[in-house]
Amino acid sequence: MVNRLGLHARAAAKLVHLTSGFQSEVTLITGEGEEIDAKSILGILLLAAGQGTALTLRCAGADEADAQRAVVALFADCFGEGE
């Protein structure tokens, strides 16, 4: 039974775990210009409300290139959910 609950929470948790490992600030920016701290579980859960919006990723810091690559990969892989 694929539980929708688990899917969202799992994806959000994965993202936060990933971004927290980097020094850089990682920010997701919505089409409306709203900025979400990608290290904040609250921020990400609330962001999911606007699913379907195009997001811009901004990384700033010593390891920003690595951070960028990793986050893009996670999204591209659909968070490993296969959907």
């Binding site: 688990g6 969202h8 799992r10 999911a48």
Partner: protein, 586 residues
């Protein structure tokens, strides 16, 4: 010596007998006092530390819940727990609380409370139901956090010197258990009734308790001297010296009588004409085991495993928690059976983690055996604990709220799977157990003859059976008197279940309140029931009552009662018949 406050006498419902004398400690708002308290400049740093400590403690609790749930099924649940834990690491969330403590110079509880309100606001605005649910989850986390912050004030309750009488408007079962085992000698609860969990826990721990006293909180201050008479339902504030002495005397006499009480006979009870009736004990907490042995009970007729859950709340019991308690129960009852009922949890009784959404009608919802079968990874821990403990005695496993034969078969299969797992892990266990069901849903009564072929025993839960059959909520004062154990419909059901058991050669017991009711006793025996499970305290008097009864006469009376049209008729009929039987006329 200052002016003494006048003595105040209050009446409520006595739910656990005994005398308690002590000093009042008042807990308002379900044990969580939530006030905005300004704090001194130099106490701010300490307050932030206290908050961080509570965060850490809450994260530990969440992690324990996660591992308790296990790997496989736990993935989905684990993710939710994960999100909870992450909230407590969320810089924005945590940072905002710490900033509030520092900037507003306010206590951590208030800062958390405001943060929780903020969360509520943000999530309430969202359309997506799933996400709103997540919002509720997060609110739960803040509640957990608050509880851990308050852990310090509860710490204070147990640190108060001398005997404490807890005065609260309500108290959660896990707190009742925890405090009852510490220095609390009496409970005075504004809400609640005889059957609420706190009342049951008070009785199990032997702590005097009075409930349903409206407004008591407003009348009591911390440190007030207070006397509780749990038998009469009386609470005395500021007792005079004379009153104090009188109650101290009563308490002393109670204690002496308890000490003097010798172990009762433990051979099987019989009616006047020699029919054997097994008297067994209903047990909720291990504290009751010595009393059970003394009472002469021949085994445990019902152990409600929800109480284990309440003890470990907010964490789920681990497999070892299960194993330990069941081993104790089995050892204490051996060679007699210990009938252990699997979780009867659902709706309000269960952590949000196990339920996906609020139910409008939890009594008719996902509860009992349905819930446990729907949560195999959690249930697995209980089953493994049971099988491992089975080596310690005579284990009978029982499922609650069974309405379909599939539930029996699925339970059997789940037990087999658990046994196979233990086998492959090389862990000691036994498959030498009996498997039975609570008969409490009317549908189960109607197919009792068919169910009897697939189980090893029945236990009739009269409390719920009567409520479901007569469609009466006994806690609803407007209809409480319609809850009639004597109703012929109930008698006919009992008769059918007893007969079904007899035909299939399986034992049938009664473990609801009706079993301890001396007025119902003649009918129960007359309808063919031969096993009763009751509070240990009731056993000696039931033993005596049985000696005064003649089974043959009772069969005739019970049979005739089933043909009467109303509960009132049954009651007066039975009374008349018994009186004339006594005076030798029949």
């Amino acid at each position: 010596m200052g002016r003494r406050a006048p003595m105040i006498s209050l009446e409520g419902i006595g739910v656990s007998e005994g005398i308690a004398i002590g000093r009042a400690v008042v807990l308002a708002k379900s044990g969580i006092e939530l006030f905005r308290i300004p704090i001194e400049e130099d106490a701010v740093a300490g307050e932030v530390e206290r908050f961080r400590g509570a965060c850490a403690e809450t994260k530990n609790e969440i992690a324990r819940n996660q591992t308790g749930v296990g790997q496989l099924y736990g993935e989905e649940l684990a993710a939710i727990f994960e999100a909870h834990a992450l909230l407590l690491s969320d810089r924005a969330f945590v940072g905002a609380i710490e900033r509030r403590i520092v900037d507003d110079r306010v206590n951590a509880e208030w800062a958390v409370h405001e943060a929780a309100l903020e969360l509520k606001r943000r999530f309430a605005a969202i359309d997506d139901a799933y996400l709103r649910e997540r919002g509720l989850d997060l609110e739960d986390v803040t509640r957990q956090l608050l509880r851990n912050l308050q852990g310090i004030s509860h710490h204070e309750v147990t640190e108060v010197e001398g005997d404490v009488v807890l005065v609260a408007d309500d108290i959660v079962p896990s707190e009742a258990i925890r405090l009852g085992r510490a220095n609390v000698v009496g409970f005075v609860i504004e809400s609640g009734g005889r059957t609420s969990h706190t009342s049951i826990i008070a009785r199990s721990l032997g702590i005097p308790a009075v409930v349903a006293i409206e407004g008591v909180i407003g009348m009591v201050t911390d440190e007030d001297p207070i006397v509780v008479d749990g038998g009469e339902g009386t609470v005395l504030l500021h007792p005079t010296t004379e009153i104090l002495e009188r109650y101290a005397g009563m308490r002393r006499r109670d204690r002496e009588r308890d000490l003097r009480r010798e172990a009762g006979p433990s051979d099987v009870a019989r009616t006047g004409d020699g029919v054997e009736i097994e008297l067994m004990a209903n047990i909720d907490l291990p504290e009751e085991l010595p009393g059970m042995t003394k009472s002469g009970a021949r085994g445990i007729g019902l152990y409600r495993s929800e109480f284990l859950y309440m003890e470990t709340d907010p964490n789920l019991p681990t497999e070892d928690d299960h194993f330990r308690i069941y081993t104790r129960l089995l050892a204490a009852s051996a060679p007699h059976p210990a009938v252990i009922r699997t979780y009867d949890l659902g709706g309000r009784k269960l952590a949000r983690e196990m339920m996906e959404s609020e139910e409008e009608n939890p009594v008719l919802g996902l509860r009992g055996i349905r819930l446990t079968l729907a949560r195999p990874q959690i249930f697995r821990l209980q089953l493994r604990g049971l099988l491992r403990a089975a080596t310690a005695g005579n284990l009978w496993i029982m499922a609650p709220i069974v309405s379909r034969i599939e539930e029996v078969r699925e339970l059997r299969a789940a037990l087999q799977r658990a046994a196979e797992e233990l086998d492959s892990e090389g862990i000691e266990h036994s498959t030498d157990y009996r498997l039975g069901i609570m008969v409490e849903v009317p549908a189960a009564v109607m197919i009792a003859d068919l169910l009897a072929r697939e189980v090893d025993f029945f236990a009739i839960g009269t409390n719920d059976l009567i409520q479901y059959s007569l469609a009466v909520d006994r806690n609803n004062r407007q209809v409480a008197d319609l809850y009639q154990p004597f109703h012929p419909a109930i008698l006919r059901m009992l008769r059918f279940v007893a007969e079904s058991g007899r035909r299939a050669g399986i034992p049938v017991s009664i473990c609801g309140e009706a079993a301890a009711d001396e007025q119902m006793l003649p009918l129960l025996v007359g309808l063919g029931l031969r096993r009763l499970s009751v509070h240990p305290r009731s056993i000696p008097r039931l033993r005596q009552a049985l000696l005064r009864l003649d089974a043959v006469t009772l069969e005739r009376i019970a049979s005739a009662s089933c043909e009467l049209a109303s509960g009132d008729e049954v009651e007066s009929f039975v009374r008349r018949e018994l009186e004339s039987a006594k005076s030798g006329v029949s």
